[in-house]
Amino acid sequence: MSKNDQCFQRNAQSVASHRCEVAEHRWVNARYKYLRLAAEADLAGATRPGQFYQLRCPGTDALQPFLLRPMSVYGTGPEAGSIEFLYNVTGVGTRALAALEQGGHMEIVGPLGNTFGFEPGFRHVMVVARGVGLATMAPLVRQAAAAGVRITAILSARRPEDLMSEQFLRGAEAGLHCVYDSDGSASVESVEALLRRLLDADAPDALYTCGSHRLLMLLQRLLADYPQVRGEVAMEQRMACGMGVCLSCVRMFDREGDKQFLRVCREGPVFPIREVVGEVEFG
C-alpha cells in the first residue's frame, strides 16, 4: 500500500456527500440509463478518470436500498458541478435509481478511488471494454483524445445493439474494433488473435480494460509477451464505505512478489493487470 505523508493513500483533496439535482436522466438502450447530475461543488475539477462516486439511490415503495452504490464517473463538465453516470439497471438500487425523475434530488459521495496511470507523453493507448467497463473508461478516452494520444478501442458486447460505441467515444477519434458474442467474434480465441495482431502491429504505451473478468485474464496472459506495455484494469467488489475504512472490498493482488489483500475502493479501483490474482470467487 503506497504511503504519503498523510500515512495513507490520499485519492482526493476532500470527500463529501453532495446533494445534486437530476439534470438529465434517460435510457440509452434497453438496459442502460444515462444520468447527469448538477451539484454545487466543483466536481468536474475534483474528479479524475477512473474515479467513482457512491450513489444514494432514493428508495421507492417497493425498493429500499440501504447501502450506497459505487458508480464510475462517466463524464464531468462542462459546468463545474456537472457529473455524468452510465449504469446498468439490475438490482434493488439501480432499479430504484432508474425511477428518479428529472428535477428530483439525490446525494452522491466522492470522489473516490484512484485514477488510471495515464501520462500525457503517451503516443498510443489501447482500451478494451465490455458492459459497464465502458462507463469507467470513457473519461480516460476523453483524456487521451484531449492530449492528442492515439486511441485503439476494442469494444465487446453481446449483440450489436448492446454496444454503445458512440456513448464510449463521445466523438473522440479511435481505431475501433467491435466484437460480439452473437457472431462469435467476442470469443476468447478471436479476441486473442485480434489483440495479438494489434499489439504486434503497433504496441501501445498502455492498455486499459474494464468490464470483463474473462478479458482481464486474457490480457494478463497476453501482456506477459509484451513486457513494455503497461496494463491497467478497473476492478469491482462489494462495498460499504467506499473510502477504505470498512475493509469489505478486498481482493488479493501480487505486488512485487508479495501477495496481499488490497481495497478495491482505495488502492483501486485501478490496478496493474499483472498484479491481479485470478482468484476463485468466494461466497
Binding site: 470527500v15 436500498p65 460499504a240 475504512v245 461466497g283
Partner: protein, 316 residues
C-alpha cells in the same frame, strides 16, 4: 452556544460523538476534521495475525447491513508502528480497540497497548472466546467477569468493555463487567443475522452469518443502554444505529454519556460532524445548556402502570 462536553468516567471529551470501531479509519480525514470529534476509536486489532473472512463481506438489509469482515490483523507490533501513530496527533483522545481469542491473550494485549498516547482501551469482548467454543466473552456474566477482571489486573489505563446485544441477560452482563473493574461500557456491537439470495440460494455473506448494524437495530441497542443504565453506575457509551443528532440524544436520554457512530458514516462520511452540529442546534432549540445533563434524563412515569391498572379495572 451550548456546552457539548461530556465525561466518560475521568475522561473529558469535547463532545459525545465518536466513531464505532471498524467503521472509522485514517481515510476519513478526507471528509472530517479529526480535531472536532469527541474521540477517535480505531478498528479492533488482535494479537494473532488474521486475514479476515471470505468475501462477500457485506450485504444490505432493510434499514441496515450485515458484515462479516472479521478482524483482519497484522499483530500488535505492526499496529503500534504502522497504524496507531496516524491517530495520535489530532488533539483528540484515541481509543484502541482490542480483540483476542482467550482470556490471557486479551489481558496481555491490553497490557501491551496501555501506552501513554492511548487514552482508552476498548475491549471488544463481543468477539468469540475460543475457550468457550467460540461463544463471545460477553454472552454470559461469568465469561464477562473472567475476561474483564483479567484485563483489569493487567492495566491501569481507562478501559471500556464493549458488550454484545446478542446476550440475553444484558443487565447481569453489565454488572459483571462493572464488578470486574471496567471503567465504562460500550453498548453495543452488532446483532447476529443472516441473509440468503433467493436466486442463487446462497448466503449473501461468504461467512454465512454476520453482524447486523444500522438504524434497524437502534431500538434494540437503545433498550439495552437503558437496561445497563439501570443496572450499573459506570458510564455507558451508546452504540447501534445512530445516524442523526436526535438518535444521539435518544441514547443519552436512555443513559449514555457518549455515543459511537458506525454504519451511518458509510452512508455519509461527514455524518459525525453533522451529528455534532445537530446536537448544538438541539440544545439551542430546546434551551439545554449542558448537553451532559441529558444522560439518563428520560422521563419515566413510575406510577403510570398503577394508574393504568386502576383505570383499566373500571372496564368489565
Amino acid at each position: 452556544m451550548a456546552d457539548l462536553s461530556v465525561h466518560v468516567g475521568a475522561l473529558a471529551l469535547r463532545n459525545p460523538v465518536m466513531p464505532a470501531s471498524g467503521c472509522f479509519a485514517i481515510e476519513y480525514s478526507e471528509a472530517l476534521d479529526f480535531g472536532r470529534l469527541g474521540a477517535l476509536v480505531i478498528k479492533s486489532v488482535s494479537p494473532a495475525c488474521r486475514a479476515g473472512n471470505p468475501t462477500p463481506r457485506v450485504a444490505e438489509t432493510r434499514g441496515g447491513m450485515l458484515n462479516s469482515i472479521g478482524i483482519p490483523s497484522k499483530g500488535l507490533a505492526h499496529y503500534r508502528r504502522d497504524v496507531l501513530p496516524a491517530y495520535t496527533g489530532h488533539g483528540t483522545p484515541v481509543v484502541v480497540s482490542i480483540s483476542a481469542d482467550t482470556v490471557d491473550e486479551f489481558a496481555q494485549a491490553v497490557a501491551e497497548m496501555s501506552l501513554p498516547e492511548v487514552a482508552v482501551i476498548e475491549a471488544n469482548i463481543s468477539c468469540p472466546n475460543l475457550e468457550a467454543d467460540g461463544m463471545a466473552f460477553a454472552m454470559t456474566p461469568e465469561t464477562t467477569y473472567q475476561v474483564v477482571s483479567a484485563i483489569r489486573r493487567r492495566t491501569r489505563h481507562p478501559f471500556w468493555a464493549k458488550l454484545t446485544p446478542n446476550a440475553s441477560q444484558i443487565a447481569a452482563v453489565a454488572k459483571a463487567a462493572e464488578e470486574a473493574g471496567a471503567d465504562a461500557l460500550v453498548m453495543g456491537n452488532t446483532v447476529l443475522g443472516m441473509a440468503i439470495d433467493v436466486r442463487t440460494r446462497k448466503p449473501r455473506l461468504g461467512n454465512v452469518m454476520g453482524g447486523l448494524s444500522g438504524p434497524a437495530i437502534k431500538p434494540i441497542a437503545l433498550r439495552m443502554v437503558h437496561q445497563c443504565h439501570r443496572a450499573v453506575r459506570i458510564p455507558i457509551v451508546g452504540c447501534g444505529g445512530i445516524a442523526s443528532a436526535e438518535d444521539a440524544i435518544e441514547f443519552m436520554l436512555a443513559g449514555a454519556s457518549a455515543v459511537q457512530v458506525g454504519t451511518a458514516s458509510f452512508l455519509d462520511p461527514g455524518a459525525m460532524q453533522k451529528i455534532i452540529d445537530g446536537l448544538a442546534t438541539y440544545c439551542e432549540d430546546t434551551g439545554v445548556e449542558r448537553l451532559r445533563e441529558l444522560t439518563g434524563a428520560v422521563e419515566l412515569d413510575r406510577h403510570l402502570s398503577d394508574r393504568w391498572l386502576r383505570f383499566a379495572q373500571q372496564s368489565g
